[in-house]
Symmetry: C2
Subunit: 197 residues, 2 copies
């Protein structure tokens, strides 16, 4: 990673220190692997800074038991504050909602996240697979973009998932497309324990 | 992530369980962000499986203090076995080598890793930025590919860095190209604490 000179000299009246602590919106999109794992790798950096971390997993089913969840919760138990919420098992704050109604669950997830962003509940937010409910029209991408644009304080947000809506890409500071070059699924191989979950 | 049907039915005589526990070689390459962080995210999954983890960072300077290192070492202290070696600070087993001779250090790093692979020292290997010493001709990519092709047991290996040599791509099970769509460096912004390290 280059920490050298940057192509343009910013003319924003900020010190380097201020600029290094500006809130950023990251998007990991594309059809390839590494969108969620890269976001979790950034979460490790956030944890090392002692920041409050909130992970909100959309879409993934209750059967999904990702190792990164165990690891980040173990780190949170060591120090700091790690929240991990999974839509597939039902949001912990919304036990009464019908778990089979994915659309209602996604809308409720975003409602709570928006409220949390307004209250600066976390310094680091990971909205995993959040592109899908936007792509499907369940959640208005323009409203998400507006909420993120006007978020208070220094809250970093990472959004993952394929087909990221243009309104979010436009708002993002950093967008990476994970492009599949070669994948064992092509050869009929399924996921590997410890690698894919 | 799809866990559904695969495009081709494998005809390899393996059970699904055996196939899920085959050693894989992952490559995260490309000019975009997320190569190292995605590899560290996979390392979290490996940790959750209780596997021995070895991270070998090539190239990065001693000044580089990545949060993911602190986090993974904290997890290793909790349970399991996490080794993190950084070439920039000098390999811990090779204190006598001249730290200013990057080429010699890279060659020594690969020598020790090759020996470790032959001895199955780790179940999960992360060779971070390992493409560069191969790209620069310091380490023979064909020899690396051959060592990986013939590695014993079930050792998963992740290699990160730009310009991955063709011999490694050919050997890899899964190659992802991290493609930069948008990056704050374009606007003259430098790295963000907690996000980029």
């Amino acid at each position: 990673m280059s920490r050298g000179t940057t192509p343009a000299a910013p003319d924003d009246g900020l010190t380097t220190r201020e600029r290094r602590n500006r809130p950023v919106l990251l998007v990991n999109t594309g059809d390839g692997k590494g969108k969620t794992t890269a976001a979790c790798g950034v979460a490790l950096r956030a944890w090392a800074q002692g920041w409050s971390i909130g992970v909100y997993q959309f879409v993934k089913s209750a059967a999904w038991k990702p190792g990164e969840r165990d690891a980040l919760l173990a780190l949170g138990a060591l120090s700091g504050d790690v929240t991990w919420e999974t839509m597939g098992t039902g949001w912990s704050w919304a036990r009464a909602t019908d778990p089979t109604d994915a659309r209602a669950a996604a809308v409720e997830g975003w409602r709570a996240i928006r409220e949390g962003i307004e209250q600066q509940r976390h310094r680091f937010w990971l909205l995993d697979e959040f592109t899908y409910p936007m792509d499907w029209g369940w959640i208005d991408a323009d409203e998400v973009a507006e909420t993120l644009r006007t978020r208070p304080g220094t809250q970093h947000v990472v959004i993952t998932g394929r087909r990221c809506p243009a309104a979010i890409v436009a708002e993002a500071d950093l967008v990476t497309d994970m492009t599949k070059i070669k994948h064992p699924f092509d050869d009929g191989q399924r996921g590997q324990v410890g690698i894919e979950w």
